[in-house]
């Protein structure tokens, strides 16, 4: 299963990976620790996390996750 990009919220300060996992109701082992918790809009309290490849999210809505598309450089046209 591909990695899911998800958003978590905490009113003051960045959440820890454990806090993010509890909010998402999943084991912290399912979250990609190398990605960690990334600030999206700290003033609004929003941060991004990513699940590990192969993590089971069978109980989660497919509508929760955000696209993580491929990006390429706009160098010499092919």
């Amino acid at each position: 299963m591909a990695q899911d990009l998800l958003v978590v919220h905490k009113d003051s300060g960045a959440p820890s990976l454990d806090e993010a996992a509890r909010q998402l109701q999943m084991p912290v082992e399912n979250l990609d620790s190398s990605f960690g918790v990334q600030p999206i809009d700290p003033r609004a309290g929003d941060y991004a996390v990513m699940t590990k490849e192969g993590a089971d999210r069978s109980d989660a809505s497919s509508q929760d996750s955000f696209s993580n598309p491929r990006i390429d450089t706009f160098g010499p046209p092919e």
């Binding site: 990009l5 600030p39 509508q63 390429d72 450089t73 706009f74 160098g75 046209p77």
Partner: protein
């Protein structure tokens, strides 16, 4: 099967002459006169022996000689006087019959079917050799004038979010680049800032230093594909999210804790195809969704004071990259490349002509994209190979990033001064841009025009 345009020569039969006269001179056929060309198409299609030949009924047969032209102009002129090549008509055949078309000959053994190639204005495309060089870019940008105004990138940082910078390569070109290693970053262990293989990121760094030779580079080496068979210049958007997370932390530091007062962020990458994204309507989609985490991060970083630039893309209508959607799916400029808070950069060559691969607007997140054009396809870093152009809108973007950094070296970002906001500085730069022809104002190919620094000496709007 693909329909291939062709030209078909045919005899001066009454039908053909009548058809030419009816369409060209808008003369209604006389009673009992031959039918218009639309009804002779079937006859010619049968005559050719090609099952896929379809004639364009709205294209008047063209006389190939003065005699044939007189037959059209003169009522009652005798037909069948000239021969099998008297007139030319156009149509299409399937590409599977191109070979057979070569065997269709007239009584003299001459071919009857010819290619009808596409023609157009000759714009610089990807495989074309470089147009001009770095000196031409410097001249167009007025780098000498900028340096006389002490606009040289001093005390500014340019983050190259790309596949890494090679400092030695830049030094070998006579540059004296500065790199802030502590403020640089890569998601992959073992990647040393400033020591990446020479390539796209080095090209971008070189191009950014053209107008801002004293700027400090930040190496954000994120486009390092680990997918099997992936190009080294690929990545995932999540890598950019990581990079922007670091940049947000950098901008959160107090000014005295940073080595620069202004940050310019160069992004010469994007999402080529809508097929790479979630489907239309999905709430998690990226390309047209301002609520996507990365699009929100861009807004946050801009609000923190960073000037953010994105390349417009290489999906222009004349010679798009092979990775672009075919047929094109609009809007072509998508995701953060179309964000209202960024400067979206199209490409012109040093002849000040739009390059054929530069993406046209509108943008998905903001319609009036691109914002402005800058120079590309010139002989510069040769980081992509000896004699190869710094090209793509990838090169245009850092050329402009350098101009922004040069401006910032005199008009530093200051959160207490509203006139120094990224939005206001962007508007000032756009107001100085010049359209190479036609009226001023925004266009969906060049934006507000080509970057022009003539007005930088009187930057009252951001002073």
């Amino acid at each position: 099967m693909v329909a291939v345009p062709v030209l078909f020569v045919t005899s001066d039969t009454p039908q053909v002459i009548g058809g030419a006269r009816a369409l060209t001179m808008q003369v209604a056929p006389a009673h009992n006169a031959p039918p218009p060309v639309g009804n002779i198409a079937a006859h010619l299609e049968q005559q050719s022996g090609l099952s896929s030949l379809r004639l364009d009924a709205d294209y008047a047969p063209v006389p190939t000689s003065t005699t044939a032209a007189m037959q059209v102009m003169t009522m009652g002129a005798a037909p069948n006087q000239i021969g099998p090549t008297a007139f030319a008509v156009r149509g299409t055949i399937d590409d599977s019959e191109i070979g057979s078309a070569g065997n269709i000959v007239d009584a003299n053994g001459d071919p009857k079917i010819f290619a009808d190639p596409r023609i157009g204005v000759s714009l610089t495309c990807g495989s074309d050799p470089p147009v001009g060089n770095t000196l031409d870019v410097r001249k167009h940008l007025g780098v000498g004038r900028l340096q006389n105004l002490s606009m040289d990138g001093s005390r500014t940082a340019i983050a190259i979010v790309d596949n890494g910078i090679n400092l030695d390569a830049l030094r070998s070109l006579g540059l004296r680049p500065k790199l802030d290693v502590a403020s640089s970053w890569s998601p992959r262990v073992g990647i040393i800032a400033g020591a990446a293989p020479v390539g796209h990121g080095t090209m971008c760094a070189y191009d950014a230093l053209i107008a801002a030779p004293k700027a400090t580079l930040l190496d954000y080496s994120v486009l390092q594909s680990t997918r099997a068979g992936g190009l080294s210049m690929s990545g995932l958007l999540s890598d950019a999210i990581l990079a922007y997370g670091k940049l947000l932390l950098l901008m959160a530091l107090a000014p005295e804790e940073r080595q620069f007062h202004s940050l310019v962020v160069n992004n010469s990458w994007g999402m080529y195809s809508w097929r790479w994204d979630f489907p239309a309507g999905h709430p998690g989609r990226y390309g047209d969704n301002p609520l996507h985490p990365f699009n929100r991060q861009v807004a946050t970083l801009s609000a923190s004071g960073a000037d953010i630039l994105f390349a417009a893309g290489n999906c222009g209508p004349i010679c798009p990259d092979s990775r672009c959607d075919r047929p094109p799916v609009e809007p072509i400029i998508n995701g953060a490349n179309s964000h209202p808070d960024v400067i979206t950069v199209a490409g012109v060559d040093t002849n000040r002509s739009l390059v054929g691969y530069s993406s046209h607007g509108p943008g998905a997140l903001y319609p009036d994209k691109p914002d402005i054009s800058a120079y590309t396809h010139f002989l510069g870093s040769e980081a992509l190979g000896t004699g190869k152009a710094d090209s793509g809108t990838s090169a245009a973007c850092p050329v402009l990033a350098g101009v922004v950094a040069a401006l910032r070296s005199q008009y530093a970002f200051d959160p207490a001064l509203l006139q120094r906001s990224p939005s206001n500085v962007k508007q000032f730069i756009l107001s100085c841009a010049v359209q190479p022809s036609g009226p001023s104002g925004w266009r969906n190919d060049l934006g507000h025009g080509i970057v022009d620094t003539n007005g930088f000496a009187a930057a009252h709007a951001i002073a």
